[in-house]
Amino acid sequence: MTTPLLEIKNLHVRLEDQPAVEILHGVDLTIMPGEVHSIMGPNGSGKSTLAQVLAGKEDYEITEGSIEFRGEDIAELGPDERANAGLFLAFQYPVEIPGVSAMQFLKAAVNAKREFEGKDELDAAALLKHFRAKAEQINVPYDMLKRNVNEGFSGGEKKRFEIFQMAVLGSVLGVLDETDSGLDIDALRIVSDGVNSMRGDERGFLLITHYQRLLEYIVPDHVHILVGGKIAKSGGKEVAAELEQTGYAPFGVNEAVGAGA
């Protein structure tokens, strides 16, 4: 039997410094290699929390349930260990790092992963070759690598750079947190093409989005609707299309007064 890429069971999560606030109330989700899943949900449903918890953000506490990544419980692992094991979070709001060039940043990340895998550091020439190949694949201008990480990047550039990083690191699971937010159609297409170019038998994606629009470009195998910290409905890609018609109203959500993201 194939080991799932990601297996989340009955996941309960609360805020670390406000234990009374539980955000996820028992989430189950299994992603097999090669699958693309989408989690859709209104603002405040816990989508982004799920993404951050998967990546290992410290502000949350898992009170019940488990997260297994390729058969290993990762709840106790730090974000760096998860990343090195092959999990990638594409940030909704990528962070600027003044004074650190994208190249320098990626060199540190690539070599951290290689160290984790017990391999030698890549030399300068090999690194550059690798960066060039991935830049071409994801359609990222090579000059972007000479700029400081996310500094002065447009919204579209930031998201493209996220996907590029995933390609460079060769992560097997990409969790894309509202990667479509703030993108115009052209940027969305470029980002989606990048993601599609990485799809394959081994790799999985979890697309977290509010709107169906992204799913027209990256067609998912499974769609889950997350409402109030629980998965309210799961199905094929048709679920997204239905949602487009009905909105979140059938799930008891009035979007007009929806809570903040």
């Binding site: 290992g56 974000p79 760096d80 979070l89 962070v95 790092i97 004074g99 992963k113």
Partner: protein
């Protein structure tokens, strides 16, 4: 894991100071104490002419009338060094006559510090490259900015810079033990030797310039230095000469109960150009040791001097025990029009640092620059900055100061921008940034601006930030460990200053910061 309180708790962890060992070598000392006999002893040891001895004694007379300074910002205070308890001279017993005669224990000491005093070896460094390497060099150059070529691990002086060997003057306690490449430099007309040798061999230059930028009565520790200075470097670059290689001095304190009182004098004659680097380390000891140096730079018309320092004196332990008192006076004068002096410093060591590398811009259109990274962790206290004195017309100065505070360290920027009446259209730009790691450290800024000419302008920008948790998370989410992420962020913060250093030095500076910050995160 990275909440502020936890970070602070973890900054308690002391980093390893890797230069804390001592060299076991037979040395001779002056008896502790500061008096006329001490001064005469040093002067005699160095075979100095009478005028030099007189100058030293004049300084000593003046020192007797002075009080140690008390205006520095020292939250933890300090115990004033007892000048009578210090031995002012310590030297290896066998004085070498030439490079070949240097005691092997000393050569080994410098090898261990990563400094090659072997000219052949340093020269080989440039002929090693194979054609295959050359083919790759374009890509290497692209990566050079993030130091792909380096393989040291902090504060070592590279033997080559941009493919050229670096000439080294090695100062061990009170004496210069070796100066490399003197012959090659002499062919270009450049004098590079110890100050002791210069006093004997080039008295006319020393007489003319010594004390011309920092007079012996300038301040307490400069005055002390003038009386008892032991060794240091002397550089003279003749008219219209570009010094053919980087010059450097490596200062090492070894003996106990001594101080280091070096004196450096660099003169760039009209149209000359020189780049000079200094590095420093000392053994780990429980008592404080005093380092009171004076550096004077003279840039004549159209001359350019670039002076870079990587200071890694022993900083003391986490309780503030031991460490070097680094009380240094560094000043340069742009004597002629269009002269240019640039100071770059990376200060990571010492228990206490008081240091204000300054530029007096006398010549019209002359230029002064100060780029500084100062890091304090453990219980280090640094009060450092610069003075930019604008006298000539159209003079411009730039100050970029980056202070990093971690652990219980306190970092103070103190700077003076002075525009005299004559300084028509003078301009200064100051940028002063501080970063705090943890919540038990401090960053302080004391900028003084004194403008006496209505056409002169001074700009000042300042910021204080904390290492942001979201930046750390972003890095760790890419697989970079927290410690590496921290050093990446701090290096980014210092980029404008590091880019002023010769490339190989920038790489070492990067690593030195990383080593110094070890244990600053969990």
């Amino acid at each position: 894991m990275t909440t502020t309180a936890e970070v602070a708790a973890l900054t308690e962890e002391r980093r390893e100071y890797k230069y804390g060992w001592t060299t076991d070598i037979e040395q001779e000392f002056a008896p502790p104490g500061l008096n006329d006999d001490t001064v005469r002893f040093i002067s005699a040891k160095k075979d100095e002419p009478a005028w030099m001895t007189e100058w030293r004694l004049k300084a000593l007379r003046h020192l007797e009338k002075m009080e140690p300074p008390t205006w520095q910002f020292l939250p933890y205070g300090y115990e004033q060094p007892d000048l009578q308890a210090i031995s002012y001279y310590a030297a290896p017993k066998q004085a070498p006559k030439s490079l070949d005669e240097v005691d092997p224990a000393l050569l080994e000491t410098y090898e261990k510090l990563g400094i090659s005093l072997n000219e052949t070896k340093a020269l080989l460094g440039i002929t090693d490259a194979s054609p295959a390497d050359a083919a790759r060099s374009r890509e290497e150059a692209e990566l050079a900015e993030f130091g792909a070529k380096a393989n040291g691990d902090g504060s070592e002086i590279p033997t080559t810079v941009e493919g050229k060997p670096v000439a080294v003057d090695a100062v061990f306690d009170s004496v210069s033990v070796a100066t490399t490449f003197q012959k090659q430099l002499a062919e270009a007309g450049v004098i590079f030797c110890s100050i002791s040798e210069a006093i004997r061999e080039h008295p006319e230059l020393v007489k003319k310039y010594l004390g011309s930028v920092v007079p012996y009565a300038d301040n307490y520790y400069a005055c002390l230095n003038s009386a008892v200075f032991s060794d240091g470097s002397f550089v003279y670059v003749p008219k219209n000469t570009k010094c053919p290689m980087e010059l450097s001095t490596y200062f090492r304190i070894n003996a106990q109960n001594t101080g280091q009182f070096e004196r450096t004098l660099i003169i760039a004659d009209e149209g000359a150009e020189v780049s000079y680097l200094e590095g420093c380390t000392a053994p780990q000891r429980d008592e404080n040791q005093l380092h009171a140096a004076v550096v004077e730079l003279v840039a004549e018309k159209d001359a350019k001097i670039k002076y870079s320092t990587i200071q890694n004196w022993y900083p003391g332990d986490e309780n503030g025990k031991g460490g070097i008192f680094n009380f240094v006076t560094k000043r340069g004068v742009c004597n002629g029009d269009r002269a240019h002096i640039s100071w770059t410093q990376v200060e990571t060591g010492s228990a206490i640092t008081w240091k204000y590398p300054s530029v007096i811009m006398k010549g019209d259109d002359s230029k002064g620059e100060f780029y500084s990274v100062a890091l304090t962790t453990l219980r280090q206290q640094a009060d450092t900055g610069t003075k930019m004195i604008h006298i000539g017309k159209n003079t411009t100065s730039t100050i970029v100061s980056k202070g990093i505070s971690a652990g219980h360290g306190h970092n103070t920027y103190r700077g003076l921008v002075e525009m005299r009446k004559s300084a028509t259209d003078a301009h200064n730009f100051t940028q002063c940034d501080s970063i705090l790691i943890g919540d038990r450290c401090g960053a302080h800024t004391f900028p003084y601006v004194d403008v006496r000419n209505t056409t002169a302008t001074a700009e000042h920008e300042a910021s204080t930030t904390k290492i942001a948790e979201d930046q750390l998370f972003y890095c760790t989410a890419r697989g970079i460990s927290e410690e590496d992420a921290m050093s990446l962020l701090v290096n980014g913060f210092c980029k404008e200053v590091f880019s002023e250093l010769p490339m190989e030095f920038a790489v070492e500076a990067n690593k030195l910061l990383a080593v110094s910050l070890e244990g600053s995160v969990g």
